[in-house]
Amino acid sequence: MNKVVNNVEEALEGIQDSMTLMLGGFGLCGIPENSIAQLVKLGIKDLTCISNNAGVDDFGLGLLLQKKQIRKMISSYVGENDEFERQMLSGELEVDLIPQGSLAERCRAGGAGIPAFYTPAGYGTEVAEGKEIKDFNGKPHILESALTADFAFVKAWKGDTEGNLIFKATARNFNPMMAMAGKITVAEVEELVPAGELDPNFVHTPGIFVQRIFQGERYEKRIEQRTVRQKS
């Protein structure tokens, strides 16, 4: 089942203003750099973006924020971004903050056909406002609903022509769940290989969750906090 498209332009065909997008990555680690660049180029706007973070001012989702293409962010943590702060405080940008574990599970649920589940996270906080509460084993839990997206953009280390993906180290993060939850899931990979090259036992995301795949032209892989120690 060949999922390969020729380039990022083809990969994003059909994307429109006002759509809901998911974007994999944690901080700047494992983000779909090529797809984000193309979103900027296309200039589509009024987007709802579901992403754990919002990039930094001049990289990642920050690039879309600079161009005011995002109407609403659904994230768990949005620090490190001045333009984000400005738009949020001025009311230009709507922000829905979600506990990180609930965000991950809500994406998985969206892909797995589970419309809602109970979690203890956020009980007794403003996150629980307006949500159903139910006790299990004497402990209150809140009902959280599934998240899905018109397009999900994920970034993998290697992928094959069938759309099977493997991720490298912590660049995995939210990518596998978001791949499950996209109506159209676009995977960009550092290396595209023929079907049969990936060991079937060690694929992280089965190709059934991926509709389009392409090899990214260029990965900057910017490091947010370069922390090192000296050789003694």
Binding site: F26, G27, G79, G101, A104, Y123, T170, T227
Partner: protein, 218 residues
Amino acid sequence: MGLDKTGIAKRIAQELKDGWYVNLGIGIPTLVANFIPEGIEVEFQSENGILGMGPFPFEGEEDADLINAGKQTVTLNKGAVIFDSATSFAMIRGQHVQLTVLGAMEVAQNGDIANWKIPGRMVKGMGGAMDLVASAQNIIVAMMHTNKKGESKLLKQCSLPLTGVGCVTRVVTNLAVLEIKGGKFHLIERAPGVSVDEIIAATEGEMIVPSEVPEMTI
């Protein structure tokens, strides 16, 4: 007065038990990893998808694809494992992580914690903190006893929006170690050179003070 941040981290490290999986928050908690007691083996979980997180890499060996939850470049210890965010929070929510150490802006005597939002100020988000505090069996808060204005951070009731309710089990500050049970703070230890009166003065919440309060050994 009392301990510095390193001192707080050292004292918290004494709480570690052999065989525990531990999640350390950003700031003082991160320092705890440097002071694991001899003869004890613990493994650090980073909620972006690492179990068995190691020290920072040597200069020139940083890998942009290998970071911790604070977005810092890190390494993996032998036997480490990588997983996705849903699996990571399955570990946390499912109580497979034995200890969470995190910072706070306020802690209440009933165990409530506030550490993510100050009304009127830019909100960065709760990240994984709400999942962690709602799930962990042992939650130790690492923080200064008072804020920059000198006001107590150990309160009858939190004034800031909550991160979690009735969840904190211990607080280690620059002045003291306190346990939370039965809706009250219990003074367990005082920092070297800090008097019980100083701790009482810096604590707004109700606190049970035993007749004898031992000094920490760091």
